[in-house]
Amino acid sequence: MGPLAVNDIISPNTNFLLAFIIGIAFGLVLEQSGFSSSRKLAGLFYGYDMVVLKVFFTGGVTAMLGLLFFSLFGWVDLNLVYVNPTFLASAIVGGLIMGAGFIMGGFCPGTSFCGAAIGKLDAMIFIVGLFIGVYIFAFGYPMFETLYKATPMGAQKISTMLDISDGVFALILVVVALGMFYAAEWVEKRFPREEY
């Protein structure tokens, strides 16, 4: 049955319409969770507000479990669901650069659009920066290309690498997430916090 677009159950144009609707839901959830505020997001890195950790991992685990159950019920063919390919070197370097961008800019791309949508000027400037950054990458591509294409590992799943089933990995991740939520609640009590 699913994924609907891959199996031609819905037309490409319907798929785009649904993308827009999913985007609306995505924006609503992000904004309602407080992700339109850079000071709230940055709280993660100083311990005064751990909302990013809670929402992010609850979201990731929910979707992961949902996909596994959908697959179990035969509702979705996991072989047709896109797994982003791993290029180890650029994943690490790119991640670290994004981390620097996060602590300096206070947003990530998705949250900056949310912040800009409610009038945050810092979010709008961050978006200007994002465009400059992507233009730099595009125009300076020969400079980045070697790193970008180094150490390709294909559409690698962690469960395959560890030689365990997806279900066992999911269970491990759920336990890890619960541990982090417990730690997050504890940390928040130790730092003063205000709502922005």
């Binding site: 699913g2 994924p3 891959v6 785009f16 993308a19 827009f20 999913i22 985007g23 839901a25 995505f26 924006g27 959830v29 992000l30 904004e31 969770s33 000071r39 890195f45 100083y46 992010f56 979201g59 929910t62 979707a63 949902g66 959908f70 797994v83 982003n84 390919p85 650029s90 994943a91 690490i92 790119g94 991640g95 670290l96 994004m98 981390g99 961008g101 996060f102 602590i103 300096m104 800019g105 791309p109 998705g110 659009f113 949310c114 949508a117 409610i118 009038g119 000027l121 979010a123 920066g129 994002l130 400059i132 950054g133 992507v134 595009a138 591509y141 980045f144 690698q156 999911a170 922005y196």
Partner: protein
């Protein structure tokens, strides 16, 4: 306990409920389109489309744009993530309107000026833009969507993003606390 007289207009959703809803949105994206959510991919589309419009000859002979077209068919703006990000703007605005949070402002710690905040927002955006291309996606497209499909690369990128930010948090603390 301190009490404040400030009216509480800002009430955010419980983060765990927000997380479950976010997960359901991500699940819906995978079920419908076979791919996760994303934000930086939409920016890439605009960059490709705008370069082609302004300097078509340059785009034709430049490797980055050639490779983009080997991987993507059709117009760069007719892209799933472009429509999704347009939705995010609408959804974010609607949520802000419902919660009474629509306001033009520069949000920053009282210890720093607006100018400093905006300068760092610009620098952070530039770095995030470059990093998202190297990482083949940002916090949404690589990290969050990667967790949902147990992608090794996605989880490595996620550890890079959060690890990098934690490692540098000390040096930028005056901006936030």
């Amino acid at each position: 306990m301190e009490t404040t007289d400030r009216p509480k207009k800002l009430k955010y959703m419980n983060p765990y409920i927000g997380g479950v809803l976010l997960g359901l949105v991500l699940l819906a994206a995978n079920f419908i389109s076979g791919r996760g959510l994303g934000a930086s991919g939409a920016i890439k589309s605009v960059v490709v489309a705008s370069t082609q419009a302004v300097a078509p000859k340059y785009a034709e002979r430049t490797k980055y744009f050639k490779e983009y077209h080997e991987e993507h068919s059709g117009s760069p703006m007719k892209n799933w993530l472009v429509f999704q990000m347009l939705g995010v703007i609408v959804g974010g605005f609607a949520s802000g309107a419902l919660a009474g949070r629509l306001k033009f402002k520069v949000e920053h710690s009282p210890k720093i000026t607006s100018r400093r905040r905006l300068l760092f927002a610009l620098l952070g955006g530039i770095l995030f833009g470059i990093g998202s291309q190297l990482g083949r996606g940002c916090t949404s497209g690589s990290a969050l969507s990667g967790i949902a499909v147990i992608s090794f690369g996605g989880i490595i990128t996620m550890m890079g993003i959060f690890g990098g930010a934690y490692a540098l948090a000390y040096f930028f603390r005056r901006n936030w606390i």
